[in-house]
Symmetry: C2
DNA sequence: TCAAAACCTAGTAAAACGGTAGGTATTATG
DNA sequence: CATAATACCTACCGTTTTACTAGGTTTTGA
């Protein structure tokens, strides 16, 4: 029941990037240094974030990354679903579930999952970005 | 970000046990059969639940388990903390955290964790037991 | 032409997960 | 008293996931 490093580094990368208001692209190396993460590991996460349309990249010297969306349009739940697979505490309905198990799943996990999804879907990234900026 | 089988089986065991209103103790074997879990694996979970005072056991033939608490006095959050370690999505403050990381932790994870803890701490087991009973 | 950057793929050590095996201790019952 | 049913305990183990690293290729501004 933990967010993995993928999710944590991804969040940190986007928050960091949102706070760098420069016209020149921000390099992975600089993000990695500020966030104390290895460049090569961050590359893979950046690749996912790019494919999903959160950031865009510019290749070559002086290249780097820019945000592709405003942080107030980024739903934290969507981000976690991308980086963590999903935000549910249990996998969905499995086969060979007997009626008792099904009842427990419905009455326990579906309730918890729904509340957690509602929670993360009601928070946008700018909440964190603003908090972060005000504390720098 | 998943509840492991420990947490799931433990919850199922307590809900199952709460629904067996018999005067005679309920054997692990019968719970294991109803819940489709191996007896030996459930033993270890039962051991934790017993040590924490959720259930008590009677040894020997005709022995088994009883609930030691009313399900309305069992907070789901406490149960998950026992079985899963904790319910936080991130580990607590780690050493070698730089100021930027600390700020992100405080503005992101502490907010999320607090909400999730509040959620699971506001639900007691009887919610699920009642739902379960009404569907049998 | 060079070097800085993004981008890509395969591999890998360690940890966690999800158990199983094989016992011991206790005690109700015939 | 013997037996069997039950809780209880410890060590081990195969698989999957995690969290990377290594070592490249591609693109492009200066």
């Amino acid at each position: 029941m933990k967010i993995s490093t993928r999710g944590r580094y991804g969040l940190r990368m986007l928050i960091d990037l949102s706070c760098q208001q420069s016209d020149t692209p921000v390099t992975l190396a600089s993000i990695a240094q500020r966030q104390d993460v290895s460049v090569s590991y961050l590359e893979r996460i950046a690749s996912d974030l790019k494919r999903a349309g959160y950031i865009y990249s510019i290749k070559g010297p002086q290249g780097g990354y820019h945000m592709a969306k405003d942080s107030k349009d980024i739903v934290v739940g969507d981000l976690l679903r991308l980086l963590e697979g999903d935000v549910r505490l249990t996998d969905n309905h499995v086969t060979h579930e007997n009626p008792l198990q099904e009842c427990i799943r419905e009455s326990v996990y579906d309730v918890l999952n729904e509340k957690i999804e509602h929670l993360v879907d009601s928070i946008t990234l700018d909440t964190f970005v603003n908090e972060y900026k005000s504390n720098i």
